[in-house]
């Protein structure tokens, strides 16, 4: 708890309402204990759910800003929650944003929820500080990429050698690749900014662009990639 620098700095002045979706009660309790001290972290846990139906009900009722979503859930998994909450994500006013939080870092889980509309993916080994940081980042509309996730994305785009039909949409720009590579190498956004002589905001917009490409325009390519690896 000594190195809670960023969260403590941001905590008091920022506030975010969060719903926890996880079928392990112990884990919910643990996360709650880690991030739920609203006065220091600024995170307020407004609801919890243990399965898909419950999650949809709670999310609809409480309209949180961020949902921490487990990938493996009884009743269809995190992807199902994302599918049924799609209208909430699209809302112009206070859209609900999803951050996947899973013990699994298997490619099919990661790609599945990202395609479903989650704004980021972190594994359960993440520290409390980093988790709070990620939650705020997602609240801002940014994408949160773990090094592993960045690796998956690079892999997905790299394995297609043939030039795609719509170059602008389907290809990552040189800069985006560079940013992803640095994330995969374990750099924080701030460090990437310093390395590439750009602002943190620019880094974030690059990452968001990658996420958008991943969700919208790269569907066929990703499908191809996933089928080639027998992931879907």
């Amino acid at each position: 708890m000594t190195e809670q620098t960023e969260a403590v700095e941001q905590g008091p002045e920022r506030h975010v309402r969060v719903v926890l979706v996880d079928d392990h009660r112990m884990f919910r309790t643990g996360v709650q204990a880690e991030i739920g001290r609203t006065e220091t972290t600024g995170v307020e846990v407004v609801g919890e759910a243990a399965d898909v139906d419950q999650a949809v009900t709670v999310i609809t009722a409480t309209r949180p800003e961020v949902v921490l979503l487990d990938v493996h859930l009884p009743g269809g998994g995190g992807v199902e929650v994302l599918r049924r909450c799609a209208p909430l994500m699209a809302g112009a006013q206070s859209p609900v944003r999803f951050l996947a939080l899973s013990v699994s870092d298997a490619a099919e889980d990661v790609i599945g929820v990202i395609r479903g509309g989650a704004r980021g993916y972190v594994t359960k080994t993440i520290t409390g500080t980093d988790l709070v940081d990620s939650i705020f980042r997602v609240q801002d509309g940014d994408a949160v990429f773990s090094p592993r996730l960045a690796g998956f994305v690079l892999d997905a785009f790299a394995s297609t050698d043939a030039p795609p039909v719509d170059e602008d949409l389907d290809r990552l720009t040189q800069r985006e690749r560079e940013v992803l590579r640095l994330i995969a190498r374990g750099y924080a956004y701030k460090e990437i900014a310093k390395q590439l002589f750009i602002s943190v905001k620019t880094v974030e917009s690059h990452v968001s662009a990658v996420l958008r490409k991943l969700q919208l325009s790269n569907r066929h390519e990703l499908t191809r990639w996933a089928t080639a690896r027998r992931l879907v």
């Binding site: 090094p147 592993r148 690796g151 790299a158 995969a184 374990g186 310093k194």
Partner: protein, 443 residues
């Protein structure tokens, strides 16, 4: 010959799943049991099996059978009895032909070749049998009445033999996964067998001079058969269902036992160790991470976890090295690999350099948190980066006697035509970047 081999046994066919292919050639002969040889047999594999069992040349056994056959058909009777009661197995006489092994290991084309080979011998054997049978019939002096029964009996025998061979084939195909013959062939075989048996039985009736009763008798027989089918049918269906269900349960139970064994061997042991080392946070973390990696590997790719072999690709090598360093130094290493390619000489050197870099990072930069390892194969270039968040150091100030960095990393990379770059990361920590050209691009 077969000895229990730890493998899932599929219901009802213990010898099928436990045939030890290598033991024939390597082991100094385990306790022997008589099996019919499925390999290189002419008819039922009895002679080969017997020869293998007795340690005699096959031809002797075959000659003895033929000789006995001349003695009022005793050989045929004996052969039939063996065929009937002795289960089919692998091996038999050694014969110097490694066909069994190649059947197992070779790709499909090879297998078919091997499976087809004995067929020539079989045709030969059948021809031989016909000739011998003709001579036998000529020679034996039978009364007219008995002689009339002979041809139908032989027909029935041939039909039964055909169908029994079929059963052998099905059994062999199931555990060799090799003789995947077409269904039509087996159906044709069964049909031929039935026709032969039918012809034989009809022949007996005809020779008895009961042709006029044939219709009513057939009708009565059919009625009895239908009656039996009606009576026993449900039980039979039930029995096969129970059997397959039981088989399924057994497989499931075995699977569960295997999972339990693994959980016991690894997870429970680790938890015990963790309880005992509860004071040492670093040790607990090391144990937990090692166990997590182990369990993941076991859950998602069981084959790789069971037989660890030398890594053959960049991804495998990086992961293996990182896992070993992690276990040895108790510092978590996060590995991200993009793309993959087989190892060549230069890349192998690069992997060794990367390992050295990981060791360094774990030793000197481990306090700052996880060490990040990133490997990427892009085009004909392999790039590896190892970074830590330790105190960092100035690459120019490496003392001349520090062989680790200078020789193991930089020197090794340069000798193999690659480059190594060490640099300080802006916010503390060190990053080692290794770049190597691949010998040839295969993708």
């Amino acid at each position: 010959m077969p000895r229990p081999v730890p493998r899932v046994t599929i219901g009802g066919m213990p010898e099928a799943a436990t045939v030890p292919l290598t033991e024939d050639t390597r082991d100094p002969r385990p306790p022997r049991k008589l099996y019919r040889s499925s390999d290189g047999r002419w008819l039922g594999g009895v002679a080969r099996g017997l020869a293998g069992h007795l340690g005699l040349p096959v031809i002797w056994v075959r000659l003895v059978f033929v000789g006995l056959f001349m003695a009022d058909g005793l050989g045929a009777l004996l052969y039939a009895a063996f065929w009937f009661f002795v289960p089919l197995g692998l091996g038999g006489v050694g014969g110097g032909r490694p066909t069994v092994l190649t059947t197992e290991t070779a790709p499909d084309g090879r297998r078919r070749l091997v499976a087809r080979r004995p067929d020539k011998g079989q045709i030969l054997a059948l021809l031989l049998m016909v000739v011998v049978a003709m001579i036998f019939v000529q020679n034996v002096n039978l009364t007219g009445n008995t002689k009339a029964y002979l041809v139908p009996t032989v027909l029935v025998g041939a039909g039964v033999a055909l169908v029994w061979r079929q059963a052998d084939n099905a059994r062999r195909a199931r555990w060799m996964e090799a003789g995947r013959r077409r269904r039509t062939l087996s159906l044709a075989r069964a049909a031929a067998g039935i026709v032969l048996v039918g012809a034989g039985i009809t022949g007996i009736f005809v020779t008895q001079g009961a042709t006029e009763h044939l219709g009513p008798i057939l009708q009565a027989a059919l009625a009895v058969l239908v009656g039996i089918a009606l009576l026993a049918g449900p039980y039979l269906v039930r029995m096969t269902q129970d059997l397959s269900e039981e088989r399924l349960m057994r497989i499931r139970a075995q699977e569960r036992a295997e999972v339990a064994a693994h959980v016991h061997d690894s997870v429970l042991h680790t938890l015990t160790l963790i309880q005992r080392n509860a004071d040492s946070a670093a040790e607990v973390r090391r144990l937990a991470r090692a166990q997590e990696r182990d369990l993941r590997a076991w859950l998602y790719k069981p084959a790789a976890a069971e037989n660890p072999r030398e890594p053959e690709t960049v991804a495998e090598a990086v992961k293996r090295n990182a896992a070993e360093v992690e276990d040895k130094h108790g510092v978590p290493l996060e590995v991200v690999v993009v793309g993959d390619c087989p190892l060549d000489e230069g890349v192998t050197a690069q992997m060794q350099a990367a390992r050295e870099a990981m060791v360094n990072a774990a030793k000197y930069g481990g306090e700052g948190g996880a060490v990040q390892v990133f490997a990427e194969v892009e085009g004909d270039e392999v790039f590896v980066s190892v970074r830590d968040r330790g105190p960092g150091f100035d690459p120019d100030s490496i003392p001349a006697d520090r062989m680790g960095v200078r020789e193991s990393i930089i020197g090794r990379m340069e000798r193999n035509g690659g480059t190594a770059r060490l640099r300080a990361v802006p916010d503390g920590g060190t990053e080692v970047e290794l770049t190597m050209k691949r010998a040839e691009k295969t993708s």
